[in-house]
């Protein structure tokens, strides 16, 4: 072999050696990683003593510290990280809970921005709910986000103002929020919501934020002076500890519900880490112990549910329940915080809902009584206060758990002992059950939609695609009657009165064979309950947020974002008294979230508002 060939061969060998070296590095790295994981997983734990709290004995929060410590202290059951990991994997199969929202009304007055016009489907009259869009009779205020609404979870939000001027409608101004004082704005899932004052001069935005300096989540209240819509100015920001859960605008002010976890707190030297704080940015104060309600039952998670009231100038009241309450229904004067739970007696389990009532009156928040009802509520529409009675529709589920086998190879099986829909009527003051109706739906049916209208309750249940709408007459609690439509194709996830004598249901499966297709159905109300009079079906899914549905029963319009099957559009439907007709389709850009589109009718025009702008159509 001559030197030229030798050199070529040497370079080939060098390449092979490089590859071998690389593989060796990877193999060694992987081996070390495996060894490290092995050491981490299987090195046995030492004993973990209960924390010594004696030095906090003089603190006003001592009882709270004791409670948090007692809940958070877990003598290590696992002997090593491996056992702990296994327990964690098993825990993945345990299921959790849900979420919410609601608001207030003020009398409209003359202002340069025109008169306030309500566009949101508020659950309780006079309690306004936050939304992506609010308007006066002259301007539309729309809250959107920078970037792709569907794929970017951390996005700054933008307030856009559009004029309401038929074909001449145009964007008047825009205000983009910037991060301030270390808070990173974000909006996800149920996200930021907006309120507009009655004179249209103040926009209030409520949003969860992440504070980068403390690493804590808190809820921000941003106010904007919109008296000159072309020159929007920011007002002071207020914060309340905890992630944003819900808000309502009541006659007493803006009600905020936040949720603050303290399940990982074991060091009580830093009070900010375990005490709720609230107030103007930079001037937040800790909630005094007198405003924290400690629960007596320590078996649940270490969370605060914080309810505060913002009067436009300051946070005027703040109260915390040391309890995890996942959602809220706000009536005229009462706030019902609730969460799902499970009761256990031996091997028998039954689902239940814990409800905690607070009263909001005269600018003060007071904790009132607690209730527990059997079964779980589907969402806040399943609760309704009417003339001193709290009506609750639940889905009951009871089962006996049995185990076979031993140790890690044991298998649990559940045998259901009860399962079905129920309605309970409770005296608001005493919590006494004054009436109930159980198992009004077939045993395997789950509650999909509830809507109370005065002395009537409409309930739609589903499991298979042919599911009835129930009309429950509550005019006489001594004689509750229930009528249903009988089997009908599909089911509704949303029920709402649609003009005089009609009920609208939005849901899926109207064609009778595919439960994944959108269905809009109009029911006529009669002596024998409700009966279907018109059905419209289309390929696609609809947003789960009720506020995304445009329902104008007086003019016959229904609007909803439709996505899936390669489309992303807003579809407008029209009910002419006989049929549901397709009125218009508005194509949405790919990055537009169909759940964020809103619509309304004004002066012969239909306005469809999305992050991309306002689409104007002529009304019938």
């Amino acid at each position: 072999m001559n030197n030229e060939n030798r050199t070529a061969e040497i370079f080939r060998r060098a390449e092979r050696q490089k590859k071998t070296r690389k593989r060796t590095f990877i193999a060694v790295g992987a081996s070390l990683a495996v060894a490290a994981v092995g050491c981490t997983l299987f090195v046995p734990y030492g004993a973990t003593p209960a924390p010594d709290l004696s030095r906090y004995r003089q603190s006003e929060y001592y009882s709270l510290i004791e409670t948090i410590s007692r809940i958070n202290y877990r003598p290590q059951k696992a002997k090593s990280n491996a056992e702990r990991l296994w327990e964690g994997l098993e825990g993945m199969f345990v299921y959790g809970t849900a979420s919410d929202s609601n608001t207030v009304a003020e009398a409209p007055t003359a202002s340069p921005n025109g008169e306030y016009v309500e566009t949101t489907d508020n659950q309780t009259y006079g309690v306004i709910e936050g939304d992506k869009m609010k308007r006066t009779d002259e301007y539309i205020f729309y809250l959107s986000h920078e970037g792709d609404e569907r794929t970017e979870p951390l996005r700054r939000f933008v307030l856009s103002v559009y004029s309401i001027d038929g074909w001449e409608s145009t964007k008047v101004s825009e205000y983009a929020f910037s991060d301030e004082d270390g808070s990173i704005l974000y909006d996800y899932a149920d996200g930021a919501e907006m309120y507009l004052s009655a004179d249209g001069n103040t926009v209030t935005i409520v949003s969860g934020v992440y504070h980068s300096q403390t690493g804590q989540s808190r809820t921000a209240v941003y106010s904007l002076d919109t008296s000159d819509v072309r020159n929007i100015r920011r007002k002071p920001t207020y914060y309340v500890s905890g992630g944003y859960r819900a808000s309502r605008l009541t006659k007493e002010g803006l009600l905020l519900v936040t949720s603050m976890p303290v399940y990982n707190v074991t060091d009580f030297d830093d009070e900010d880490s375990f005490l709720p704080c609230y107030g103007r940015a930079g001037e937040e104060e800790r909630l005094p112990m007198s405003e924290i309600s400690l629960k007596t039952d320590d078996n649940r998670n270490a969370y605060y549910t914080i309810v505060s009231l913002f009067d436009g100038e300051k946070i005027s009241a703040c109260k915390a329940w040391f309890d995890y309450l996942s959602d809220v229904y706000v009536a005229q004067e009462n706030i019902y915080l609730y969460s799902a739970g499970t009761k256990r007696e031996g091997n028998t389990y039954s689902t239940c809902t814990y409800i905690s009532r607070a009263r909001l009156f005269g600018g003060a928040l007071t904790k009132e009584n607690d209730y527990t009802v059997s079964g779980r509520v589907h969402n806040r529409y399943a609760l309704d206060e009417y003339e001193g009675v709290l009506r609750v529709v639940t889905e009951r589920s009871g089962y006996v758990l049995s185990e076979s086998g031993r140790g890690n190879s044991s298998v649990s099986s559940a045998e259901f002992t009860e399962r079905g829909a129920a309605l309970y009527c409770l005296n608001v003051q005493t919590g006494e059950t004054i009436a109930s109706l159980t198992d009004f739906a077939p045993r395997e049916e789950s509650v999909e939609a509830v809507r109370f209208e005065g002395t009537q309750a409409f309930v739609c249940t589903a499991v298979v695609s042919k599911d009835p709408v129930f009309v429950i007459d509550l005019s006489d609690y001594g004689h509750i009657t229930c009528k249903d439509t009988g089997e009908i194709p599909g089911y509704s996830i949303y029920l709402r009165s649609f003009g005089e004598g009609y009920l609208l249901g939005l849901g899926y499966g109207g064609n009778g064979w595919d439960s994944s297709d959108f269905k809009a159905e109009i029911y006529a109300e009669g002596e024998n309950g409700v009966s279907s009079v018109a059905v419209y079906t289309a390929n696609g899914r609809i947003p789960s947020d009720y506020k995304a549905y445009f329902v104008d029963g007086s003019n016959g319009y229904i609007g909803v974002g439709l996505y899936g099957y390669g489309s992303n559009e807003y579809r407008l439907l029209f009910f002419d008294g006989t049929d549901i007709l397709e009125y218009a389709r508005v194509e949405l850009s790919e990055e537009t979230d169909a759940g964020c589109v809103r619509a309304f009718v004004s002066d012969g025009f239909i306005y469809v508002v999305a992050s991309s702008g306002v689409h104007v159509l002529t009304a019938v």
Partner: protein, 170 residues
Amino acid sequence: MEIGVASYNRFLQGDKKAFEQIVSLYGEPLVRFARSFLPSYADAEDVMMDVFAALIVKPRTFRNESALKTYLYRAVRNRAIDRWRKERRVVPLAYAENAAYCLPDGAGEDLSQALLSLPEQYREVLRLVYGMGFSVEETGKILNKDKKQVYNLLCRARSSLKKTFEEDTV
């Protein structure tokens, strides 16, 4: 700076041709050196090429020519001995037959025979110093011994060779 180190430095700067010059300069002598440990020329060439490939994969810095040369001989020696150790169960020890590979040109048959009768470490030190022209210091680096040990070895090797050569020729 000797040509070998200069070429290697040029190679490190991206001149691939320079590496061929190094192979031309040291390749064949290294094969002959390796051959003294291994049963076949092919094995010796294989060892030489592996050593040069390692020089590409793991570049080294040499300040002078003797450091590069010393490094190459030491690496070839170690690798050749490793190879022999791996293969000795199936291949009989044959390197003694190849001792003459490292003798200067013109060395007689008698000298070769006398060398073959010496212990391996004597043969090795004689090969390096007289056959390959390494200094005592460089030989020490190749054999991993200090100068005094090399001197002692060399002295004993010469005496032994002289004695053997005289006995054979009497």
